[in-house]
Structures are given as structure tokens and as C-alpha cells.
Symmetry: C2
Subunit: 152 residues, 2 copies
């Protein structure tokens, strides 16, 4: 139950692009250094984001990357899905396709509920929210709970 380095990198790079705004494109190297991500790895990630239509790029001296849409219209879920594929839950199968035998029948509903709850966070938060440091209230409320910060 973990988020890959790649997905984490992708979101951080996207946030950095969101912060840069509509001006001139941001170079890969600057993204890499400002978020401390290996440059060549990041280039592959940005390429995937580009292929998914989230990012645009131009080469050459005045080149770089920028967001294809306004930062307020790109969610964290969009970015994570672009690099990790669907937020699949169990054994790399989407939970709704799994049939459990007998006593474990209801387990599917549990995984469905987990996925729904993950989505409800990732699909609500936009890159603009992150840059502004103001998360949607439902998400902020979750993060404000002291219990949420306890390791377990």
C-alpha cells in the first residue's frame, strides 16, 4: 500500500510547473534541482505526462515544459494515473473484477471502499490547491486530525 517514487516525483514536478504559471516554459533541469529529482529519470516522467496530455514541451534554447491545462483543472489523481495507470487495488486487478469464495465474499466491498476513499482525496486536490497551500476543506480536515499523523 504505497505510492511509488515515480508518482511522487510526477506530482512534485507538476506542482512546480503549476507554480511557474503561464510565462515561459520551465527547463527539466530546473524542475529536477528545485525538487531534487534525478534529471534523466524526471525526463522520462515528464514525457509520460506529455503523452497523457497533461504537459506540453518545446525543445531548444528557450524550451522547457508547461502545463497543458490551468493548474486548477489538473488533479493529483490525474498526475498519479498518468504515471502509474489506474489506482488498482488488489493483485494488480481492479477490485470490482474479483470474485471471492464463500466467507470472503464481502472483502471485495472493503477494497472498493478503500479505493473510493483514496479517490475522494486525490480527485479533489488540484495542483493550484497545492501551490496555494490551501487544500479543499474535506481534505484539510483529514490532515488536521492529530491521529492521522501517528505512525501505525
Amino acid at each position: 500500500m504505497r505510492v511509488s517514487a515515480k508518482a511522487d516525483y510526477a506530482v512534485r514536478a507538476a506542482v512546480e510547473l503549476a507554480a511557474a504559471g503561464e510565462g515561459e516554459p520551465v527547463k527539466g533541469e530546473r524542475l529536477a534541482s528545485s525538487q531534487d529529482i534525478p534529471l534523466q529519470f524526471l525526463e522520462h516522467i515528464l514525457l509520460e505526462l506529455k503523452h497523457q496530455g497533461l504537459v506540453r514541451a518545446r525543445r531548444g534554447a528557450k524550451g522547457g515544459y508547461w502545463l497543458a491545462r490551468p493548474a486548477g483543472e489538473v488533479t493529483v489523481a490525474d498526475v498519479v494515473r498518468a504515471v502509474e495507470g489506474p489506482i488498482a487495488n488488489v493483485q494488480s486487478m481492479p477490485p470490482e473484477t474479483i470474485e471471492y469464495a464463500g466467507n470472503a465474499e464481502s472483502l471485495r466491498d472493503v477494497w472498493i471502499a478503500v479505493r473510493a476513499n483514496i479517490r475522494s482525496v486525490l480527485e479533489e486536490v488540484t495542483l493550484a490547491d497545492l501551490v496555494a497551500g490551501e487544500l479543499p476543506s474535506s481534505v484539510a480536515a483529514l490532515a488536521a486530525e492529530p491521529d492521522a499523523w501517528a505512525a501505525r
Copy 2:
């Protein structure tokens, strides 16, 4: 963002033990066949559950496994943690220990919120709930949403 086969197996085996109740112990082979899990892999999983104090076992002809606690006092989170360790979120680090640079600062709160939301499902559902097929209302409500069943 996925649950490993191991964790899935562990929960299913635990549910099966819960269903067997307080009578005589259940043999590994019966757990394996009723939930269609490779026996020798399952044995290792059961051993981990035993080491974590969730399960007890006895060898010999009348041997087998049983739950160390009543099924109503064992949550899915307990079982998942026993075999996967903490529900760590990012890059195998707990999110509360991560420091993000500048613009990505609020990202930590997002991962914290995600983890909190995962926990809120897994810590609420007990093995007894699963056997009875009656999930706690908050979880049942999530699973009842048609949107929750859509692939994405």
C-alpha cells in the same frame, strides 16, 4: 497504490479462521483449498500472523490454526499490517517524516489525508463483519456508491 497478493491472502485466510469459530483448529490445507491459495506460501503467511500474535497453531494430527482473539476484535488493518508492515505511503517512508521543498510543501498533507482515509476503512472492518457479510455503515455506504465501482 495496490494491495499485495500476500495481504489479500492473509485477510482471506483470517476470515476463514473467523468463520470456523472456536471449535477445533483448521488445517492449513483446508484454508488453502477453500480460498484457493498456494499452500506453502500460505504457511509462511500464517506463520507471520502467528508471530504477530493474531493466530495460534498446534501441530500434529489434530493440529491446525485458530484466531488468538475473537473475530470481532481483529480488524482488517491488523491483518494487513501483520504481513505488510505499516501502511506506509510514499517511497516506503511514512508520510509524516517527509519534507517537501517549497511549492510542494502541502503535498505531505495530501498523503497524510490519503493514509487517514485508508485507515478509516481498514480499521473499522473486523473479521466478524466480513463473515457476517455486514460491514460497518460508513464502509457499506462507500461501497454502495455506484461511482465507487467504476474503473478509472
